[in-house]
């Protein structure tokens, strides 16, 4: 199939970018989206041009490295998958595809479609951990966990930190990511002792990184490749209010 690609090209972090048109001809239907970009890049290199830079790693939907906003939707309009799992059979011959980076002030563009998502790492570093004594692993069921809590925590832990929630949000808010990461630990007995400290620290770091504020439009939930529910945001709001109140009393 033959496609027209409208791709965001940007030389470097401080350069201004623009949309450049690339023709993608003779793309096999069975190619994945990233393989299609590989084919286009090989041709660009042969012609002596600069290949289109994009992030990728595992190419099986679990690492959270690939990004790309495809036709205005992070990871494409297909739900519950990452960009690397999008296949060209989803497109028709002659289609025009817009490919842009994940856009957010907190995710500065490094080059072309590659953005710096280390703001997420700093949020995790501020509270996404539990303090435990080292030693042998405890017995499997030594600490009982309610079934509902275990399920909700596990669903939250499915977050791969790709940043699609931020890219899809009209306000570039990171609430789904922070909600998932805080909820994952806050729900478990192992995470309970540091719950307030974690919630306050992660929200404050998020605010400091320049993400926007949640306006409850649930665009994040619609694009999340792991289909994390925005209920984690409601829970984060509740935990933050309780933690702030306890901090004020202390």
């Amino acid at each position: 199939m033959n496609l027209t690609l409208k791709v965001w090209r940007q030389e470097g972090p401080s350069e201004s970018g623009h949309i450049k048109t690339h023709e993608a001809e003779g793309i096999p239907e069975e190619a994945s989206f990233l393989e299609m970009l590989d084919i286009v890049n090989e041709r660009i290199i042969i012609d002596g041009g600069e290949p289109i830079l994009f992030d990728h790693d595992c190419r099986e939907g679990i690492c959270g490295s690939c990004s790309l906003t495809i036709n205005g939707v992070p990871h494409s309009k297909d739900t519950g998958i990452t960009t690397c799992q999008v296949h060209m059979r989803r497109y028709r011959d002659g289609d025009t595809i817009w490919i842009e980076p994940f856009r957010a002030r907190a995710f500065p563009i490094l080059k072309d479609l590659v953005v710096d998502r280390s703001a997420f790492d700093r949020i995790i570093a501020s509270g996404g951990y539990i303090s435990v004594r080292t030693g042998a692993a405890p017995d499997a069921n030594a600490t009982p966990v309610e079934f509902e809590d275990a399920t909700d925590s596990f669903n939250s832990a499915a977050c791969i930190g790709c940043g699609a929630c931020v890219a899809a949000c009209k306000n570039a808010s990171a609430m789904l990511f922070v909600g998932a990461k805080a909820n994952h630990l806050n729900l478990l007995p192992q995470g309970a002792p540091e719950k307030d400290q974690r919630t306050l620290a992660m929200v404050r770091t998020m605010d400091g990184e320049g993400f926007g504020n949640c306006t409850n439009q649930y665009e994040c939930e619609a694009v999340c490749p792991k289909e994390i529910s925005s209920d984690v945001i409601a829970k984060l709001n509740r935990d933050y209010a309780a933690a702030s109140a306890r901090e004020a009393v202390d």
């Binding site: 856009r103 306000n171 605010d207 504020n213 665009e219 709001n237």
Partner: protein, 273 residues
């Protein structure tokens, strides 16, 4: 002894001051945080929605006739020796101002967070109402100013001087409302503004539950529907009055020439018979 007492006094003051500083710091942190400011928007939103429901219920007394509405208006202005309405007004103004200041500040941060827009923008599920909250909100501010000048401050001397035909010592709220909605342009402005207000509420009410943390997979749909139902009920309730007044379907046609007191008393006597 005296010096000890002074030092003790200074110590107490210092402790209090440090406690005050800690409290101020917590409040400032809360205001500066994204979730804190949103919680303030949600709590003030609850107050404003509560006011709207009460206001609409009070307004609907117009369908019970002049006496009911004027009694209600008299009660509002005189309960707690006239202090009650001012307590409500102060509370409402504080909620209204906090709601506006917080949302404008949040919107500015939101715009800064997405400084560069997508060349090809797409929306998956955000409702139209949710995307234009700031604009529907700003329209409501303009409407509130007009509405206060119209019926609370009463800058129109004809509306301000209306007296209840059954008790000329009190203001005729009923006649004022009917007369105030005889101008089609005013009615059109009310229809547009209340529609924007209800669009604002259709997203706002459901958002309150999310921001206050009441949403879960079981409650999200019912809360969303509750928001829509309240918005539609408020839209119908508020707009029924200007619409029916404009087409003379309420009121007894006396807005140009107030009914003489005897006539209305006689009518009442007739009903009693």
């Amino acid at each position: 002894m005296q010096i000890d007492a002074i030092f003790l006094h200074i110590g107490v003051v210092l402790i209090k001051k440090s406690e005050m500083n800690a409290l101020c710091k917590t409040l400032c942190d809360f205001w500066d945080s994204s979730i804190g400011k949103k919680l303030i928007v949600a709590v003030t939103g609850v107050m404003l929605v509560g006011f709207l429901i009460a206001h609409m219920a009070g307004n609907l007394l117009i369908f019970q006739g002049r006496e009911s509405l004027n009694d209600y208006a008299y009660f509002l202005h005189h309960f707690l020796h006239g202090m009650g309405i001012w307590l409500f007004r102060v509370g409402l103004i504080v909620a209204f101002v906090l709601h506006i200041v917080a949302t404008v500040s949040l919107t500015r941060q939101n715009r800064a967070a997405r400084s560069e827009k997508y060349a090809h923008e797409a929306t998956s599920r955000a409702s139209l109402s949710s995307r234009y909250m700031i604009w529907s909100g700003l329209t409501v501010i303009a409407f509130v100013i007009f509405h206060l000048l119209h019926f609370t401050v009463r800058i129109d001397p004809d509306l301000a001087s209306m007296k209840d035909p059954m008790d000329p010592s009190r203001h005729d709220a009923y006649g004022m409302v009917i007369a105030g909605f005889q101008n089609p342009v005013v009615v059109l402005f009310y229809i547009i503004s209340i529609s924007f207000l209800c669009s604002h509420l259709s997203h706002g009410i459901a958002s309150i539950f999310q921001t206050l943390g009441f949403n879960s997979k079981k409650t999200r749909d019912p809360f969303h529907k509750l928001g829509l139902v309240i918005s539609v009920v408020l839209w119908l309730g508020f707009l029924s009055i200007p619409f029916l007044a404009l087409f003379d379907l309420i009121g007894d046609g006396e807005k140009d020439a107030p009914v003489p007191m005897e006539a209305s008393v006689n009518t009442e006597l007739l009903f009693r018979c």
